[in-house]
Amino acid sequence: MQPANLPPRAGLGLKPQHYAEILATRPPIGFFEVHAENYMGDGGPPHRYLADIVAQYPLSLHGVGLSIGGAGPLDRDHLRRLRALIERYRPQSFSEHLAWSSHEESRLNDLLPLPYTPATLDNVVAHVDQVQQTLGCRMLLENPSTYVLFAESSIDEVDFLAAIAERSGCGLLLDVNNVMVSAVNHRLDPFAYVDRFPLHQVGEIHLAGYDETTDAAGDRLLIDAHASRVSPDVFALYTHTLARTGPLPTLVEWDNDVPAFAVLAEEAGIVDAALEAAARRHQPRERVA
């Protein structure tokens, strides 16, 4: 089992429209992250550019299609494709989501929520075990952003994630934007969520921008959109997290309406400044009451 060893720096999602600029200018980005499913073609420019990027930067491989929270069995063909990618590019980290996206033959192309019960916990732990055995590495599992709750849920989400990590030995990916989105949507305290989170298991943090709307009762509803700068409240929750954890690899996710690379690099610079501040100020017991 290799440990997650991305550098505790700001990372960016790698977008095809930025390949050439990155290779020409070699910007000081801590790591790049790619969606595994975008590199499952046979060949061509995506693989060629990724190989060149990987020669110069650490890589985080982030899956969006494994459906680890699916009630049915994992797709063995998809696991084989992931294994081949990991063997080819040797990423410093592999992560996936606490969500499902496939039902039988249908691929729903979204990260869908699951109820938190003893039965679903057993199922997810078994899936994470299978993933780690097949891929031959420790994975990180990401907390979801959700818009609905399940009446049958009997386990708190933080406890659910902590139990998966404890039982499977996987690490966790803490998406701070997802924490904010879910906390606002379900009227929970996002700071309390982070404070209860098993932060010692966190191998990577995600940040992103959200959109905002209202639900049928007119209550505030946040949408995990990845289409804008990180919101100030999410950034405040991030610095609160860093004060507890110290510097951690942190990805800025911007997947829709992707701006010029300079804008992404600017966001990474803001995150790097927060990471440097956290490194200077971090005293592990400072905030413990």
Partner: protein
Amino acid sequence: MIAPLVAQAAFAAALVDPALPVPPGIVSHRGDSDAKRFAVYRNNVHAGLVGVLAAKYPVCERLVGADFFTAMARLYVTDHKPRSPIMQHYGADFAAFIEGFDPARAVPYLADMARLEKAWSIAYNAADMVPMSIIALATIDQAAVPELRLASHPAAGLIRSAFPMGSIWSAHQAEGVVVRPGAEAVLISRPAMEVIVTVIPQADALFLHHLFEGAALGVAATAATGLSDAFDVGRALVGLCNLGAFAQPIQAIGSAHAA
């Protein structure tokens, strides 16, 4: 408790069919069933797949405008769910859908543009392979050349259209491209790192079409000569090899792969 598989089946069914109610047991923090919250997932699925189509068919989107394209793509998405988590495979039959979509008739070449852009996407992701060079042909016993069958390169795709598809596509890539009415044949290929889109002579295209269909070189050349007296098989082969049309190795007639 509802069995998890049954519960996810109900969730999935309600996602793809907006006429269905929110499945039981899915609630807001207030404890009520909130259709607007569930609709976020419906919208994510549909908007995500529309986005996949817009990324794969960017010139089609520009030809009809974003609003028209989104409305058309939403109808396609409603009846076509991905069968693979690899989204580069999604929307492979979008051109056929466009052909049957009446409101798109005002842009009669839209389906052919979708075919061209699909071929571009296939070329972009195709396996890496050095294309067959004309030098390889020169090493063959010349008496056997008419019987040769050539395999298409994994990145190569041929679009023969009644419309000037190559020029229209090029006009959306760079300024100053003049589009003249008339039929064009287009070879989409990747002889090196980047995908290229090349308008080729009609006789060369007919020649290539027959070769890609598995015909022997002599048969394909005869068909092309029938279309144009000016067709020169040697010149066509040099040009097509340089564009990366063929895979190695050459397959002689009678081989296991002959069609």
